[in-house]
């Protein structure tokens, strides 16, 4: 088991919004590959995952209402989605070494019926990309309120990632707590 600080940075340039997610060690040093020794998998990007259902992304997926399901006492609408198979739909790449593959996904979101909040989401590759057979991500979201902010943000609380590679399958569980807002100040010091 390892602990990190997980950062989600909003970057806005003009109309563009970027959500950058990465981790540091507990002293704030950006995660170095060497500290992964012995680990199999680490994943980021769960806060962004719900954006498949965002207004700009919806046109690039097909959707299907599967039905209703109760999750933790909440009635939810289970909605399946599958990204269109075209370049514009690509939102990411899977890289192994210097080789990489475009990622297209499909999955299911469990959306609370009362306020249309995504409570849970699962994504899978749209098709296996040999030797990668499977990348399954299951995210549970929880409400987080921040002082001085008008609205609460729904952010990942518990994430399970399973990767099938060749004959091997392995996975990690990511748990998030102690959410805080933060700002970055930089000072330019003269020589």
């Amino acid at each position: 088991m390892q602990k990190f600080r997980y950062l989600m940075l909003a970057r806005r340039e003009g109309d563009a919004f970027t959500l950058v997610e990465y981790r540091t060690d507990l002293r704030g040093r950006e995660e170095h590959p060497q500290i992964q020794t012995g680990d199999l998998i680490k994943t980021t990007g769960f806060a962004s995952m719900a954006l498949f259902f965002g207004p700009l992304e919806q046109p690039w997926s097909d959707f299907r209402l599967l039905g209703q399901q109760t999750i933790g006492g909440d009635r939810t609408e289970a909605v399946a989605f599958a990204e269109h198979i075209e370049p514009v739909a690509v939102m990411g790449r899977l890289k192994i070494g210097k080789a990489s593959m475009p990622i297209l996904v499909q999955g299911v979101a469990w959306i609370r019926s009362s306020d249309y909040q995504i409570l849970k989401m699962r994504t899978d590759l749209l098709a296996p990309l040999p030797p990668v057979k499977r990348v399954t991500t299951l995210v549970l979201y929880a409400k987080n309120e921040f002082e001085g902010r008008p609205t609460a943000l729904w952010l990942p609380q518990d994430v399970k990632v399973t990767v099938g590679m060749g004959n091997f399958e392995f996975g990690h569980r990511h748990m998030y707590s102690d959410y805080r807002m933060f700002t970055v100040k930089s000072v330019i010091k003269p020589d």
Binding site: K3, R5, Y6, M8, E13, D15, A16, F17, T18, L19, P33, T37, I41, K42, S48, F53, Q58, W60, F63, R64, L65, L66, Q68, Q69, V79, A80, A82, H84, E86, V88, G92, R93, I96, K98, A99, M101, I103, L104, Q106, V108, I111, A127, P130, V135, T151, W154, V161, V163, M165, G166, N167, F168, E169, F170, G171, H172, R173, M175, S177, R180
Partner: protein, 543 residues
């Protein structure tokens, strides 16, 4: 209010990959030997690892010396996995061999494998083949180089970086000629004829040199997969004759020839001005063959090469696993590309391949022009334990300007702005999928204009020309939105307890609602940090 016209999210998955289950179950010791141009990972002795590096460094040194390539010109590091024996090579990637029908008890694996990748090349070698070859030679039997194909592949790599328009006969001839470089005591031997080439030459009439010079990749004479042909044998013979003539006479006609080609002089004219008139050359070549004048040349060992100067250290389990996983991926990648070359010779596939090669060459040129004068003296690529990290980068769905346009041409997908698959309007609320079965998904009732989808400043490159192969895989997919309910419930265990929808009438409202929530999410999002705890959830594999 910020209008989220483009949203970029970033997802990174870092994997230190376990290539095969068998690795986890075994306690193997791996050693890494590094030189400026090679990383060798071996389960054999450090000495054998050093010898492997030396062999390839020699080929590189002799090739570059002959073609006067400056020491500062960099080559990407090639990764070599040197496996003790055939069983080890089988364990490295059983799926790959099985797909080629080479895992049965009657078949044996090749002595080596050269994998040319879009970014990086990989080699696998069976070291037991060296022992066998030494044993055969000790018994006085002529033994062909077991790694002939691998050396050939590596010289291709070097030749490709020399000059993009090198004539094919010289590329293949050089690959055959320099690929035979080997250590002989304190000297190196270059140009030993291969038995295969001699057999072909003795049984086949030489091609007119005009014909040989005109062979290109589309020619029936050219079969990279099967090199037992007069084209390869005669290319080797001509290259052998020309290079050894230059060595013998202290001339540099071949490099002058290459230089003229680099100045776009027509090949036959360049030949007349340097290596000789083709008609006269033809006669000289015939005499060279008939009198068996071809033989290996001995050269002094380059002073800069010393097997003891390479660094060697035990590889950590994670690092060795990472290197092997990267190799397995490279093999699968190469197989996919080969399938595209062999099975789909349509225009789109060829274009995608050409673009991939162009990209590769551009990268090579970039690395050459950025080479520092002192680079020849230091390692050219630091290899870190995350070599086999797998990363998923998610970014904006953007058009990436011309890059995307090129891809659209390659895969015959209309450009994003004109895509008929894209809805003509952006829903302010719910959207419907174009691939839904008739009647299952309700049509939109309310729409707004599509915001422009220009590339955002922060967008990363998400689509590459070579992606067509992966899009092929995706096109064969069976999307979840079309699954029968029974399959859905079986494949997605999280759906247990689902009360199936009787129709899709509620979908637009649900999508509209979640869309509005996400609009707020983007608008209100602030920089956030959290404590993250990661634990390994599971680990295992099938047999």
């Amino acid at each position: 209010m910020l209008r989220p016209s483009i949203r970029t999210c970033l997802v990174v998955i870092l994997l230190i990959l376990a290539a095969e289950r068998s690795f986890a179950a075994r306690t193997e010791t791996w050693t890494e030997v590094r030189s400026p141009n090679f990383l060798v990972l071996t389960d054999s002795s450090e000495k054998q690892g050093r010898n492997v590096v030396l062999q390839f460094e020699l080929i590189r040194a002799v090739f570059r010396q002959f073609f006067n390539i400056p020491g500062a010109a960099k080559d990407p590091v090639v990764t070599i996995i040197a496996i003790k024996d055939e069983d080890g090579l089988k364990r490295l990637m059983p799926g790959f061999w099985a797909s080629k029908g080479l895992l049965s008890s009657e078949s044996s694996l090749p002595a080596g494998l050269y994998l040319a990748g879009p970014e990086k090349d990989h080699i696998a070698l069976r070291l037991d083949e060296i022992t066998d070859q030494e044993a055969r030679e000790a018994l006085g039997r002529r033994a062909d180089d077991p790694f002939e194909n691998v050396h050939h592949g590596y010289v291709h790599f070097l030749a490709g970086r020399l000059l993009s328009q090198l004539p094919l006969w010289l590329v293949e001839g050089s690959a055959e000629f320099f690929g035979s470089t080997e250590v002989k005591g304190r000297k190196i031997s270059v140009g030993a004829p291969s038995r295969t080439n001699l057999e072909v030459l003795q049984g086949t009439k030489l091609l007119p040199l005009g014909t040989l010079f005109a062979v290109d990749a589309s020619s029936p004479y050219y079969h990279e997969e099967n090199r037992n042909s007069i084209f390869y044998a005669q290319s080797w013979l001509l290259t052998h004759y020309l290079i050894t003539r230059d060595w013998r006479e202290g001339t540099h006609r071949v490099t002058d020839f290459v230089a003229l080609l680099g100045q776009s002089v027509e090949p036959e004219e360049a030949a007349r001005r340097t290596i000789g008139d083709p008609l006269r050359l033809q006669k000289e070549l015939k005499r060279y063959l008939d009198r068996s004048l071809y033989s290996a040349s001995d050269l002094p060992m380059p002073l800069s090469l010393d097997a003891n100067a390479f660094t060697a250290e035990p590889a950590s389990p994670a690092e060795s696993r990472a290197v092997r996983a990267e190799f397995v991926f490279a093999a699968e990648y190469a197989a996919t590309m080969a399938k595209a070359r062999g099975g789909r010779r349509d225009a789109a596939a060829r274009l995608a391949m050409a673009q991939l090669q162009q990209k590769h060459q551009e990268k090579m040129k970039e690395s050459e022009t950025s080479a520092h004068p002192d680079d020849s003296e230091r390692p050219e690529l630091e290899l870190t334990p995350n070599m086999a990290e797998a990363t998923i980068e998610k970014g904006a769905r953007d058009t990436q300007g011309g890059k995307m346009a090129v891809l659209s041409k390659a895969v015959e997908v209309p450009s994003p702005t004109a895509s008929p698959a894209a809805p003509p309007v952006l829903p302010s609320g719910p959207a419907v999928g174009s691939g839904s079965k008739g009647g299952e998904v309700a049509a939109l009732s309310k729409t707004t204009e599509i915001p422009s989808r220009t590339a955002p400043p922060l967008a990363s490159k998400l689509v590459a020309p070579a992606d067509e192969l992966f899009f092929e895989a995706y096109r064969r997919s069976d999307p979840i939105t079309k699954w029968p309910l029974k399959k859905m419930l079986h494949q997605i265990p999280e759906l247990k307890g689902l009360k199936p929808a009787t129709d899709q009438s509620q979908l637009p409202e649900v999508l509209r609602g979640v869309s509005e929530n996400l609009q707020k999410f983007v608008t209100d999002f602030v920089n956030i940090t959290a404590l993250e705890t990661i634990e390994e959830a599971q680990r295992g594999g099938g047999s």
